[in-house]
Symmetry: C3
Subunit: 116 residues, 3 copies
């Protein structure tokens, strides 16, 4: 069973595919924008781009782990999330509060997805 790695670096690969399942690295905002809704949109766009690179899309996301630096941002994150979810194809999800690797990051999402 082969393993495919997307953007393998010295620390992490952005995605790893094995046996029809894509394991994505935690995605964060890269633009420097501070507002949590904008960060969430960037995170979900990064996820969409990685899913496309491995040949799948958001209709086939199996699970998402959402980490919020401040749970007070839950509703804003959730509103952007809900606009993103493919209707009828929402993944299993858990959301908890955790400080992230850089203080400017307000949301990080870790996704597992199936390939077609």
């Amino acid at each position: 069973m082969t393993i495919q790695r997307i953007d393998p670096g010295p620390i992490l690969s952005e995605a790893v595919v094995h046996n029809g399942v894509a394991y994505l690295a935690g995605q964060v905002s890269s633009s420097g924008v501070r507002e949590v809704g904008s960060q969430t949109r960037e995170v979900l766009a990064a996820i969409d781009a990685l899913l496309a690179r491995v040949g799948t899309d958001k209709t086939r996301v199996l699970r998402a782990q959402v980490f919020l630096a401040d749970m007070a941002d839950y509703n804003i994150m959730n509103t952007v999330w809900e606009q993103w979810v493919a209707p009828g194809h929402a993944p299993a999800r858990a959301t908890v509060q955790a400080a992230l690797a850089k203080p400017q990051w307000k949301v990080e999402i870790v996704v597992t997805a199936a390939l077609p």
Copy 2:
């Protein structure tokens, strides 16, 4: 490879099944009970119910991620957990402290399980 979703909503599905593996959403207490042992029992009952709906049970749990709002609750959670585990079939587990989406929630558990 088909994907089966249990209780798909606009935000999340309670469970997603793919290639013989069930990915459950983070389960929390829904009754309003405050005590962590009671919450843990409710969470595990919710997991049992979801596992049954996808055709498996707690003898086939592969992994569990436990989030505790207060690590001081570790021993109480663990006692209830140990009573629940099917002897000889304990999953791989990790437990960390993290604030949860609602302040009354003291424990959230994310489970991955195999189908028979």
Copy 3:
């Protein structure tokens, strides 16, 4: 589809193998050493040992979730991590801050790996 459990105990198994994928329990330092770099080395050695017991190795790690008790330890953890990663085979990874089950623990890592 059979399930193999490594060191099954009353609370958790150290690893669970199903359908060519090994799900490891969260690994922590067991020696009592306090320094985060040393703890990270111990955690990664424990992961190597478990991977060997299920017949795989660090070239086949699919995903890693790193929990740091204090994000100020990120760079030290990361330096040890980077020395450990098999070049070209870095897993998808996410790192967040979370208090761990014992106050002396500074790092816990949860790994998912493919079997050959």
